[in-house]
């Protein structure tokens, strides 16, 4: 997943050999935005490309790599994964539910390349069987996307590095190549945002000074907070924590691919819209972990603040409304998204860039089932389905299935 993120994150321009670009900063801390700026012909579509390799340890003949929150940028795009020393390669994408796409291997090499991956934030899993006797599997990831230069020939793309492991990445634009070094030390750096499965694999070791991926979040300036942002939805009982839990569960699938900060922002939006009085709580050093954390506070009419952590399972908390002492301390409180974005940066909260979270018009019902809570599709800007992509594949299947009974299957061209 990280791989994919990286791929996309790290941008890369490959347009004409004359294309020039710069990366700033070239040595960001994890979580810092990285901006790529370049110059091409006015209106030109600049193709950006990056790649990196890593070694994944083999345990009991298997290898596995999981990354959460990988953001796939706008189309056109292409994501490729190739693995060496493998008997097979499987790629799982969590799109609400897990969808697995096995890939055949030949001669110990397996690869998959998918164009026009639907933009959004996904969890990816790369796994399979290694060849007998090998201790590591080499995985190479390539990401490609494009950005259109403005009337003055300039273009810009911003990478979100939150959750991205430290490491060195090569970025190419045509014959020009630059390096982004995320974190202070590229050697021995840990993995961020990855979740390894029970088969016991450890973090991939980077090849040649640990090249790892960054996360490409978008082309152009940072994604702004949609306006208008807050909306009224079906009202819950704002004094009833049980009702909040029901609403939380009702939107659970929609938030499945969001990372911790995005999930907090998503639920702040959603629960506020449903009438709950919620605000953000931010800790710069949560529980002494040297990691910051963002969760919510639900205020009752009596002035009582109840902690609500949409990422409680990730943080090892006992429940959605954790009572652990570590939640009793926070450094800052933000009443609305705008305050949070001012301090934390809008990129860390931009759940609205996730197509699934925003979705199309999706009804989310409470367990009462009496009314629907509607999540607006106003901000869904990417609906295109280009030919040859994964979605096209699914669409083709649907076409086959329904064509004979008179149901249309559409292809929307973006």
């Amino acid at each position: 997943m990280r791989i994919f993120s990286l791929l996309f994150l790290l941008l890369f321009a490959l347009v004409s050999p004359m294309t020039a670009f710069e990366v700033s900063p070239i040595n960001p801390n994890p979580g810092d935005p990285v901006t790529i700026r370049g110059v091409a012909s006015p209106g030109e579509e600049v193709r950006l490309r990056s790649s990196f390799e890593m070694d994944i340890p083999v345990v009991n003949g298997k290898y596995e790599y999981v990354a959460t929150g990988v953001q796939i940028p706008q189309r056109p795009n292409r994501l490729s994964v190739a693995a060496n020393n493998v008997d097979d390669l499987k790629v799982g994408v969590r799109m609400g539910i897990w969808v697995t796409m096995p890939v055949r291997a030949s001669g110990g090499v397996a690869s998959v390349s998918k164009p026009d991956v639907p933009p959004g934030r996904y969890t990816l899993k790369i796994f399979g069987e290694a060849l007998p006797g090998v201790t590591t599997v080499s995985v190479r990831v390539d990401a490609e996307t494009a950005v259109r230069a403005g009337s003055d020939g300039s273009y810009q793309m911003v990478m979100d590095t939150s959750g991205v492991p430290e490491g060195k990445y090569n970025i190419r634009a045509g014959r020009d190549e630059k390096v982004v070094m995320i974190g202070r030390s590229p050697v021995g750096a840990g993995m961020y945002g990855s979740k390894l499965s029970e088969i016991g694999t450890t973090s991939p070791r980077r090849v040649e000074e640990s090249p790892e991926s960054g996360r490409l979040i978008d082309a152009g300036p940072p994604t702004p907070i949609p306006e208008p942002y807050y909306r009224e939805m079906k009202r819950g009982d704002s004094e009833n924590p049980d009702d909040l839990v029901r609403y939380f569960n009702a939107a659970r699938n929609r938030a499945a691919n969001l990372d911790v900060f995005e999930k907090a922002a998503f639920y702040e939006y959603y629960l506020s819209g449903c009438g709950f009085s919620v605000s953000f709580a931010y800790s710069e050093n949560f529980d002494g972990s040297s990691q910051d954390h963002l969760w919510l506070l639900m205020m009752t009419k009596k002035g009582e603040a109840i902690n609500v952590d949409p990422s409680y399972s990730v943080k090892g908390a006992s429940s959605l409304m954790p009572l652990e002492p570590r939640y009793s301390r926070y450094d800052q409180r933000f009443e609305v998204i705008y305050e949070a974005a001012e301090t934390l940066g809008v990129e860390r909260l931009a759940w609205w860039t996730d197509e699934i979270a925003w979705g199309s018009t999706v009804e989310v019902t409470s367990t009462t089932g009496e009314e629907a809570v509607e999540v607006s599709e106003d901000f869904v800007v990417e609906k295109s389905v280009a030919k040859g992509g994964f979605i096209s594949w699914i669409r083709d299947l649907l076409t086959q299935a329904f064509a004979k009974i008179g149901l249309a299957v559409t292809s929307q061209v973006g």
Binding site: G92, G96, P102, R246, N253, A372, Q400, A401, K404, Q412
Partner: protein, 308 residues
Amino acid sequence: MVICLCLLCAGAAAALDHSYSNDTSLNADGNWIELQGENSIKLPMVSLSRASVNWTYPIASHPVYHESQMINATFFGSRDLANETIEVFVDDLAYSSFMRAVDVLDGPANFTATFGTFGPYRLNSTGDASFSLQGMAAGIYSIYVAFENSSWPLSASPLLVTETDMEVSTPPVTSAGDLLAVKVKLDDGYDGRPLTYGTFIVSAEDYRALTFNITGDGSRPGTVVNLRWNEEALSILGDSDIGWDLLARMLMIFPRDSAAALQDSVDGEVTLYMITEDDWAPGAYILTSIVLSQEGVVGLNQTEVMIV
């Protein structure tokens, strides 16, 4: 793929004529067609609620046939049809015609006996009659039952004939969090053609929780299919196109304890891997597998596995 199945089920469920309510046979509403077969797909609860029409499909599963397999069925008519004579017609499954036949849409069904007329059959004293259809080529059909020499259907049912049988094997018991390997093997007929294999798993409890309620005004744009899956719900307008948006919306209401796998292959046998997660609820799960070609459905199978 899963959506295909769901809508197929919806179509199957629509195969009930509400018009006769005096039947005392298996279902009080009467006038429905029950297909008999060994390879069956469990159906969700499907109901129609219109101002003047209400029915709930009473059959819990729907058989799938393979080519040349004899198709046995029974028409359970209302008691006031006792001793009447009916005929059975087989046509391509066309959305509008089928939905008109089951009163989801208004208007004449306009079906034709493209694939033959069978009968006449004389209904017994309770309005029932069994009949058999010769094996058919792979395809998706609709069976219509009408009075002899009439073109107004009493009932309709979808009929799916696949190219071949297929064998689906998987460990009978799998631990939550483990990969679930599903081997799908076609009996024959793949001939090196590019085929798409797909499989979908969901808990039996969640499977039973899926409901389709159809409402509307008799027009296609005015028809709404309301899907409810546990606490999740989704409404699909009758004139909706099947595209990514709809697919994405449907994925969002799928139960969390479910997964799918897809694979293209020119072989007649593939192994698909389903990703399960540690916190999946233990119990029985329904595994539905399908193989598609450019021409249609090559095979369809449903089996059960245990997650512990």
